[in-house]
Symmetry: C2
Subunit: 364 residues, 2 copies
């Protein structure tokens, strides 16, 4: 089955770095092979360099970003414990669903979709939560929620952050900002196909682990014995070897470029795209000052769609005529916004130029 060669400008996955695809071709090692253990250790070092953390428990979870979310929640929240969750999009909602299934008491801090959450509201929501959780970069709206003030004011709470769309794309400092648990995904600004969820956990969070996680697969105490077990690496489950190769390679590309340079590249593409869309007369959806460069949300110009063509038709035309994928809206903004990603290998100015040109050709 042949596949089309897409330019992936949706909310993720992005196009992977060529070095990543190359890594998939390397001979497969066993998950207990000394060479694989070395590779995993180096991958974890690279993750620490990108997360800006010294956390010993930093590793790629063997599943996608949503499993990283569930793993971080289910290891620190016992039934009845309080978690404050910021909700201004799909992924904040998902956090509430995950926490609710654990029997935790969820205190929501809602903000309108497209708006950022005021950090002080997160701190004022409850006098003594076990966990305060928020999404750094809301993939459903293109909004950045600020973390530093929450981390500085968290008190005894554990600070849990969704970094799926922020890691390597915008500034993020796990240790300096007081983040205790964070998870990400490989298919966004790291430039690797989906399949793993980089996770990092502070010593403070480990001390706050529940006695036994309700999930065996996501039990971070057991996983720690394999990924950070020093000389004895106790088998937990079989690691997804090829995906670890890919992640190792993607992180290598970013660190060779320099984390700051990679973020600058994402920023430059986002600014060029957002300026270009505004020059075409479109209205950006995310709150000014909180717009993600790596993921732009824009109100769909419904009066400028080609005659008889809905917004889904335009996206389909982009796909069929130009091989470009962009994303539709989710939940309450379905049909109202498009989401355009410039992440990982996709974050190149020429891709922005191409997309703006294609939209100009299609729209009235």
């Amino acid at each position: 089955m042949a596949h089309s060669d897409r330019l992936l400008m949706g909310p993720g996955p992005c196009n992977p770095y060529p070095e990543v695809i190359e890594a998939f071709g390397r001979p497969l090692l066993g998950h207990l092979d000394p060479e694989f253990i070395d590779l995993l250790d180096e991958t974890n070092d690279r993750l620490r360099a990108v997360f800006l953390t010294a956390n010993a428990l930093t590793f790629p979870m063997s599943a996608t970003g949503s499993a990283g979310m569930e793993a971080t929640f289910c290891n620190v929240l016992a039934p009845g414990e309080v978690v404050v969750i910021g909700v201004n999009g799909v992924f904040g909602e998902r956090m509430c669903d995950v926490a609710d299934r654990l029997g935790a008491e969820v205190v929501r801090v809602d903000a309108e979709w497209g708006q950022a959450i005021e950090p002080q509201r997160m701190l004022d929501a409850h006098p003594g939560p076990k966990v305060i959780a928020i999404v750094h970069a809301e993939t459903s709206t293109g909004v950045r929620n600020d973390l530093e003030e929450i981390g500085a004011g968290k008190g005894d709470a554990l600070f849990l952050v969704d970094c799926v769309t922020s890691l390597a794309g915008i500034p993020l400092e796990i240790d300096a900002w007081g983040v205790d648990l964070a998870y990400s995904g490989t298919q966004k600004c790291i430039g690797v196909p989906p399949g793993l969820s980089p996770v990092t956990v502070s010593q403070r969070a480990i001390e706050g682990f529940v006695e036994r996680s309700p999930s065996w697969y996501l039990d971070l105490s057991m996983i720690a014995d394999y990924v950070a077990g020093g000389s004895t690496r106790a088998y937990h489950h079989t690691a997804p070897i090829s995906m670890v190769y890919a992640l190792h390679a993607g992180l290598g590309v970013i660190l060779e470029e320099g984390l700051g340079n990679a973020q600058a590249r994402h920023r430059a593409c986002g600014e060029k795209l957002q300026l270009g869309l505004q020059e075409m007369g479109f209205e950006l959806f995310a709150q000014e000052g909180h717009r993600l460069p790596e993921l732009t949300s824009v109100r769909i110009p419904l009066d400028r769609l080609p005659e008889g063509m809905g917004e889904a038709g335009v996206r389909r035309l982009l796909l069929d005529r130009y091989g470009i994928e962009i994303g539709g809206g989710l939940g309450p903004v379905a049909g109202q916004v498009w989401r355009i990603g410039c992440m990982g290998h996709t974050a190149r100015p020429r891709n922005v130029t191409l997309l703006l040109g294609a939209l100009a050709e299609i729209l009235l």
Copy 2:
């Protein structure tokens, strides 16, 4: 980082089929791209052909085999419900751990490691369990547990089977044998790197689903809307695209060869290996009549190890001098048995010849 080119003759992963590695190189599609949905549908069709099932809910879970185990358990067992679990190795034990975390009442049917579990004991263990669960091919011992009699006698119970090391390696008929829930792994007889867990669920099991799975990520009701949702494919989580390419290709290899031929190839390699080991004077560990051809367990000839070299030293020498990986024992048989796999692309007679030759060169 260069990797050695290993011959993977441990308990999994095996060496992947060349077509599988090739598939990793294909251009990445988005998880909602119509071309990817077609590919996923075809992958699920191929899984049905290998599982021998018509189950609509048949798909690759976005995590490794142990997550498939947890997904099948956590969608059908509510706290207090009874599950009968056969235990004659690590993976039966793991089932008990998973079920216990769910708050289920676990009724164990134990057999000695290396022995098979008598099916009638599974049926006699409890008068009305919600679920009867067993491992088809115990990866920790190389033993096959028979399924047909349990499926025929299950009554109102749901029959849940671990097919991680059996699928495509030995005869397995999900529908004909009355299996309601089954999960597997990609890194065994399917010949694909680890990372996904093929799962199949009967309509009867779907009707027995708990109201809400305690796990969001493993919630089969929600996942079904994406993988088997007909014309509307509701986004759940981002599928591991590249791994699905790989699985699609691996299944293609097996179906082109013919499922029966692939099983015959595994059988021929296993017989050749087991005969060869016995001719060298070694004692097979698994009960006669229940030996897996794809995974041979053999008592380590401790009196024939090179002077001053432990069994781990022999495995290390196999790795360093010949690039061959075999597996050690787990749990109570650690240090007592080796586990030698001939699965997927590794299941070729020449690999058996090579391993026997290497062992003859090393051992006294």
